[in-house]
């Protein structure tokens, strides 16, 4: 069947099987590789995307569920807050190998939309489903906190 949705700000239309996963369709058929395959069973968060603004695990989401909706990946997140987050990630050393990073970015962005001034504990709780094997999480939290602090000054 053919499904249509908005992907990172453009309209796409793609033929999918009813059992096909959103992650595979994004990567194999639509050439958007920001969401990563890592565990395949919703344990690690590397495939996180926004579906109508809500974070979902694209490895557990059927592609047909995206029909008529809006999918935003790390590549499609834009705006001042996204820029600040990206800069803070770079400055604080939140990025090492970078494989978990697109998922972390999507999730951190979603967090800052839900809560303007999350505490460290709230950051850690919100992001607990996103695994990172390199950073020990410290500098990722620092990056998010930096944006929170800057938001406070604005």
């Amino acid at each position: 069947m053919i499904i249509k949705f908005r992907l990172d700000g453009r309209d796409v239309s793609v033929e999918v099987e009813p059992n096909e996963l959103l992650l595979n369709v994004l990567r194999d058929k639509l050439g958007v590789k920001a969401p990563k395959y890592s565990c395949g069973i919703g344990e690690c968060g590397a495939c996180t995307v926004l579906l109508d603004g809500e974070p979902v695990l694209s490895c557990l989401t059927l592609a047909v569920d995206a029909n008529g909706r809006e999918v935003t990946t790390a590549s499609g997140i834009k705006g001042e807050e996204a820029e600040m987050l990206m800069k803070a990630f770079a400055e604080e050393g939140a990025v090492q190998c970078g494989f978990c990073t697109p998922g972390m970015f999507v999730m951190s962005y979603a967090l800052l939309h839900e809560k303007k001034r999350p505490t460290e504990e709230e950051i850690r709780e919100y992001l607990r489903g996103n695994l990172c094997r390199c950073t020990g999480y410290v500098n990722i939290v620092r990056g998010i906190e930096k944006v929170v602090e800057m938001g406070g000054k604005k």
Binding site: C39, E43, M86, E92, V95, G98, C134, N139
Partner: protein, 783 residues
């Protein structure tokens, strides 16, 4: 030492790839797609230990899939890792095998236009078995007389050797007189330790894409820590000249040692590509990846002796390693485990016996620290026990006996020796002790109530590379090419892989410092084997120390050529040696000048342009560099834990991580190594293992990530409670005084955590991980 005078070294400059990584635009191996590409799938035996009679591929082929079986690949045994010299390389691998010896042993592979079809074809392959054996899952059982032979004949270099009692390799060593030393000892302690078989859980599963080019060459995009060794192995296995193969350096989504060797998935993609004549890509599933590699499980029996004064008298270690079904670097690790042991403390008299034993489990390979986390955990635990026995502060005992400045150091094994020239251990212990509040530490007997806190200390080190003044059993050298572009910017070309720690970023800063060119004008060129000189591997924490020094030397050569060109531009100058180069803040570029002479000054960009316009030629240099030592980066960890005596759960409350890495090139990224090292070490101490199902030989978790827990955001200490300190040292043999850090950042952690748990509840554990179950059992009178 002098770091304040540096323009770029030691300053935090955000890494150039952070933004494209964050947006998911940087392509890893699995992200590369080419037109007409086939998807490959690997077929495994349903039994971990069997001999196959026949493989029926007809159904798969009738589906239109390309199929390969052992008869399609060369039969000669090889080792997937090429770091050791030929004569001590143990070979027991084939690309595909009729004799699977673990559940992840590939026996066939398919390729088809879609992943779905490939999977269907893989499932259609049928086997007829000659013999099915019971899995052998324990090293001691494997060495017993009635255990079946997992392997009978393997190659050592080109020599055929017979495997007896499933012992794949052995190494024994002794120095001094243990018997006499024991008689002179006031205290002798003997303990047996068992480490966990951890899975690397790098976030990117292994992947490979092999593309046949129109002129018949092969291009390979794959997960690897070494593009050159990957190319050499492909050449050796398939009999292809290296000039016909190009292995690309592709970013790697974490590795932690799991791709020091050339991965089988790489060789299988090449075999499928050769057979189909089409590009073939294979991405391992998480389940396949978990059956592909694991850490070395070590059974360590330690005996140590000391006098009442705290002076050590001898150290003895028996190391039985369960290496799984293949040798990757079992033999060199027998030497390195010994190296870690003897380089921690001055035992004076040493006895060592090491055996690498085959079992029908996932093959063990290096995992960040290469045996040092295991050995350090055992030694640091036992030294704490010894201190208690001697009624000494463990810090005092350890500082009294550690191998440090001026001592002979051979961390990477008996053939890799050098002298220690920088050592910040005392400084780190002193500062760390204050930060954690060591002097207020209470003995376990003083702890009461449900929640009990404990403070523990652990120290260790890792080498920076595996170089040395003589050529031993390990290949270790790097290379760099640097060329000055026509506008004064630079292209830096290296084969060295960056795991994500920012190694290449460090190289750029080293070049920047040497030439006064800002790092953003130094292009780290996407590279492959065809355009780079050899680099052995990004392992052994050698990336900054060895690779960075190669880059620095290339920059020095470029610099002297720049000075020659400067004498042409400023004819009043007599000798090139009179010139200096520096970054000019006002001009925001490099200038070449003679001190004290205002008119003797020209920018690097002007020199570069003149060299082009006046036909002087390109200024460039290529270096192949071998380090004459492999200096230790010392690390110490002070950890405070909280044990819940009702549930057995443990939390890390406070951490002080100290590192003597010489000059930190990228302080923030270096801190990040210590954060990541702690969390990984915590996980080793408390969470991780891959137990096997006795009857079927399967992993208990069947490769499912939900049943392999690693720490999350919520399991790490808060920012406030995680302090990182660097020693004020300078390594004279390193680039601008730097040493390596990646592995040292992890090595002492499990020991520090175990000692902290002891300090909280008064119980010592000799098996990792120290799970809540074990803790509860011990508190109710168990272990």
């Amino acid at each position: 030492m002098g770091s304040t005078n540096y323009k770029f070294i030691g300053r935090d400059i955000p890494r150039r790839d952070a933004e494209i990584k964050t947006k998911g635009l940087l392509e890893f191996s699995s992200d590369i797609y080419v037109p007409g590409m086939l998807y490959g799938r690997i077929v495994y035996s349903p039994y971990p230990f069997a001999d196959i009679e026949e493989i029926d591929t007809r159904d798969a082929e009738s589906m239109g899939a390309t199929v390969i079986t052992p008869k399609d690949v060369p039969r000669k045994l090889f080792n997937i890792r090429l770091v050791s010299v030929e004569e001590v390389t143990f070979k027991d691998w084939n690309v595909l095998t009729m004799s699977p010896r673990y559940l992840g042993d590939p026996v066939a592979a398919v390729a088809a236009p879609s992943e779905y079809l490939a999977q269907k074809a893989a499932e259609a392959i049928k086997f007829k078995f000659k013999k099915i054996y019971r899995p052998v899952l324990d090293a001691f059982e494997a060495m017993s007389l009635d255990a079946p032979a997992i392997r009978e004949r393997i190659l050592k270099g080109e020599q055929e050797v017979t495997v007896s009692k499933n012992v794949g390799a052995e190494l024994n060593f002794s120095e001094g007189d243990i018997d006499r030393a024991e008689k002179e000892s006031d205290v002798v302690l003997e303990r047996s330790f068992k480490t966990n078989r951890r899975y690397h859980f790098q976030l990117e599963t292994k992947a490979s894409l092999c593309v046949p080019e129109v002129d018949g060459r092969l291009s390979v995009y794959t997960t690897t820590q070494t593009i050159h060794n990957t190319r050499i192995l492909i050449g050796q296995v398939f009999g292809i000249p290296l000039s016909r193969i190009s292995v690309k350096r592709i970013p790697i989504g974490g590795s932690f040692g799991s791709s020091i060797q050339t991965n089988l998935v790489t060789l299988i993609s090449v075999a499928l590509c050769l057979k189909s004549g089409k590009p073939v890509k294979i991405v391992l599933t998480r389940e396949e990846d978990m059956y592909d590699h694991a850490d070395y499980e070590m059974h360590l029996k330690l005996r140590i002796g000391a006098k009442r004064t705290g002076e050590l008298t001898f150290g003895e270690m028996h190391n039985i390693m369960d290496i799984g079904a293949h040798q990757v670097q079992a033999y060199p690790l027998l030497g390195t485990a010994l190296g870690w042991f003897v380089s921690l403390y001055k035992w004076k008299n040493i006895l060592y016996e090491g055996k690498a034993v085959y079992t029908t489990k996932t093959p063990s390979c290096a995992f960040r620290g290469y045996g040092a986390p295991q050995v350090s955990w055992a030694v640091e635990s036992l030294m704490d026990e010894l201190a208690e026995e001697l009624k000494m502060d463990p810090l005092v005992l350890k500082l009294k006996n550690y191998v440090g400045l001026g001592d002979v150091f051979w961390g990477q094994g008996p053939t890799v020796r050098s002298i220690i020239r920088s050592d910040g251990v005392k400084e780190l212990v002193e500062r760390g002790k204050q930060l954690i509040g060591w002097d207020k530490r209470q003995p376990p007997s003083a702890k009461k109530g449900r929640f009990r806190n404990g403070i523990g200390f652990g120290r260790s080190f890792h080498t920076s590379g595996a170089g040395g003044p003589i050529s031993g059993e390990v290949i270790d050298y790097s290379g760099a090419t640097l060329k000055l572009n026509e506008d004064g910017s630079l292209d830096y070309i290296t084969a060295l892989q960056d795991h994500g720690g920012g190694t290449l970023e460090a190289h750029a800063k080293i070049i920047a410092e040497e030439l006064g060119v800002p790092p953003h004008l130094i292009n780290i060129v996407p590279a492959d084997t065809s355009i780079t000189v050899y680099d052995v591997n990004t392992h052994a924490s050698r990336g900054t120390y060895v690779g960075g020094e190669a880059a620095r030397r290339a920059a020095q050569m470029v610099k002297s050529k720049v000075f020659e060109a400067a004498t042409r531009m400023l004819p009043k100058a007599v000798n090139p040696e009179a010139f200096k180069i520096r970054y000019d803040e006002a001009l925001e570029q490099a200038v070449v000048y003679i001190e004290g002479m205002k008119d003797m000054k020209v920018t690097l960009a002007e020199i570069a342009k003149a060299s082009w316009q006046r036909n002087w030629g390109t200024i460039a240099a290529t270096v192949s560099y071998r380090a004459t030592s492999a200096p230790p980066t010392f690390t110490v960890f002070f950890v405070e834990v909280e044990v819940d005596t009702y549930t057995g759960t443990v939390k890390p409350k406070r951490v002080v991580a100290g590192a003597d890495l010489g000059t930190p090139i990228n302080p923030k990224l270096a801190e990040g190594q210590l954060h990541g090292g702690f969390v990984m070490g915590w996980s080793m101490a408390y969470l991780e293992d891959t137990p096997y199902q006795r009857e079927t030989g399967e992993l208990m978790n069947r490769g499912m990530a939900v049943d392999y827990k690693i720490p999350t955001f919520e399991d790490a200490p808060s920012i406030e409670d995680f302090k990182v300190i660097f020693a004020n040292t300078y390594e004279p043999t390193g680039p601008f005084g730097a040493k390596g850090l990646g592995e040292a950042a992890l090595n002492p952690v499990a020991g520090a955590v175990a000692n902290a748990i002891y300090n909280a509840i008064g119980v010592r554990f000799y098996t990792l991980p120290i799970t809540p179950e074990k803790i509860l059992e011990s508190l109710s009178g168990g272990e």
